[in-house]
Amino acid sequence: MGAYIARRILITLPLLLAVSFLTFLLISFSPVEPAEVILRAQEVPLITDELIERTNEELGLDKPFIIQYFHWLISSLQLDFGNSYVKNEPVWNLVGPAFINTFKLTVASTIVIIIFSVLIGVICAVNERKMVDRWMRTILFVFTATPSYLLGAVCIYLFSVKLDLLPTSGMEGVESYILPVLVTSLGYIGIYFRNIRSAMINNLNEDYVLYGRASGLSEYTITWHILRNSLQVAVSIFCMAIPLILGGTVVIENVFAWPGLGSLSIGAILNRDFPIIQAYVLIVAVAFVIFNMISDILNAMLNPRIRNDS
């Protein structure tokens, strides 16, 4: 098991190198002169050739691409990701808090997603094709199919403006988590509960269920066993939900004015705020790699066959 984990970690490093190199490469393909874009993002009203030259020199943009990349790589290995071009602040001072804000939202949403997906999945599987099952699937289908900006606006309208229960936006206390978490979760629950439901329905037809019933076990105990077997399928899905949400909260953050990674990265991409884009891509890449690894490890623990195969 230890060797398995070590191998996975070793694969991660070249992957991150490749990701950072690719980001660098893609940005360098942009036909516009980077210094000019930076100055425009700083809203300098009139950009002269002298100014472009000076900016190139200051930021080392006049150097060949590969040298720029190595410069970046060496300083980022020392955890120095440079300054944001637009906000003129160290990248970590901006990306760090934004990451934590998005991560809080992600964790809260994931917990809600897991609880409700499993709960609804079990209820639907046990009541397969009955009224409850149909209703649940219909309702969640509607929520999943609704774009989150619309769902967000409707939720704010209902819960904040009409019922006056919650703040419309911002991040000022526990109550401001409720709506963003609700809207984020609704979309995912509608997808994931189906995995639980179908896995359980498949398990219902397994022999061990029949034996269990035959030997007089209570329905409760049988359901518990089915659920445990079905959860194996769900583990990897839930693990991957975390980086998916982490990298996909742009719309939610926009609607709820959540000061997270999504809004930061969109702004950075529009302004070509390169140091922030690099840091953002790395964070999301690391998150995917780590959670992919965790899900593999969990699966290996749950299912010895995977361990032995590899």
Binding site: A41, L51, E89, T138, V154, V161, K162, T168, M171, A257
Partner: protein, 531 residues
Amino acid sequence: MFIKLKTMFFMLAAITILAGCTSTKVEDNKNTDELVYATVKDINDMNPHLYPGSMSAQGMVYESLVENTEEGIKPLLAESWEISEDGTEYTFHLRKDVTFHDGEHFNAKAVKQNFEAVQNNKEKHAWIKLSDKIKSIEEVDEYTVKLTLFEVYYPTLVELSMTRPYVFLSPNDFKNGETKDGVNGFHGTGPFKLTEHKVDQYAVFEANEDYWAGVPKIKKITAKVLPAGETTLLAMQKGEVNFAFTDDRGADSINIEGINQLVQAGDYQLTRSKQMNTKMIVANSGKSESPASEKNVREAIWYAIDRETISRDIFEGAETVANSLFSINVNYADVSLKERNYDIARAKEILENAGWTISSQDSVREKGGKKLEMKLYYDSNSPSQKAQAEFIQGSLKEVGINLELNGEESTSIANRRATGDYDLLFNQTWGLAYDPQSTVAAFTSEASYLHATKGIPDAEQFYKKIEETLTTIDEEKRKLLYEDILKTVHDEAIFIPITNGNVTVVAPKNLKGISFKQTQYELPFEKMYFE
């Protein structure tokens, strides 16, 4: 399937009913001395000698020597001034009762340090021609400074009155005597102090209790970052945000429908400034391979655009029809120009006479085997530009011009403008206080309208005249020069005006004293008060 559809319908109906029947409740504005305004972007770096910061926020914190008002230049931090005979020396007498927010005294030394910090970063201020004319700044005594220019420059006082860069930051905030590489704090002399800033969340400004012109009645102003317009509207309905205005960032954060809804509900009032800028289509006269380089084509486009309908249907009357590059309330712009009203027949006639003919089986005109086709670029983040583009596309089709629409990011459009890679694009003038001198000066700048104006016959001569307007001391001559310049660009139909924009303020009904400055980028919050 049938059951599912029915269920879905029932649910949607339930949501609608639930939304409809609960009573609207808008929180009363309990704090009668607090404003919370919505802004699309963070206020960013508040260094007043650089440009990323929000101008409306900087306008609250920093002040300039003089103020640009409707009646002309008025004293602000300078009580009075004299201009030497030859027009190159300005002596300013400073107010003696001004302190920075950190307690530091405002005096000639601080003025000198600030000017020098700006001049040491001259490349970034190329747009403000004054930065190139300043020879020196000297302290005459503790409250007198003398500004010496290389040559006469008539907009000196106007440019000194602008939101940035010639405003004053406490010298204690400088880094190594400079401001170009960042500053240690944001202490100005203005009516409000920046007391808290959470990046991408909010910024708090509190009334400056030692303000030299009297303590503002509004005690606290919060700029809340709300990137989505729908949320802003809902937050205003709830009362979490009680103020919104078209600032220098996202422009229309709430659409016209939303504003009307707020006003009709009875808790808010709508105030519009007079015309502040002109929204227009810029035609690239310098791109010789494009039909836009032909004066007749540009004129035909002008005639073919129904600006009345755009003003009425797209802007719902919030913006008025523009007939020339500058509206007549702009300095030097009150000149008589040829009227070009909406006239499809005239547009067709011009094209016909210019040799652009139409064959019966085709709807697009041709000349010498070349089709009358052009590309119009608009800002993809602006719903109103998109709507206008589509409307104009339809109108031009009627006269036999094929218009291809391209929505792009604003940076990309600015880049096209700088490289000349466009036929037509949407733009707007810099606005009152900057018009006409800054916009006209931009005719000669590569990054702005050089490509657009290159196609003017005898362009070199034209550019010389622009240079002259800025340096002549003869006011009569300047008037005539501007008249000539404005006539030329009008006759050449390079800037096709659409509408005049203004600053829109949505504020609580009991807020009084809402007024505007001679710039679209700032609001005089210090004059507002609750009744």
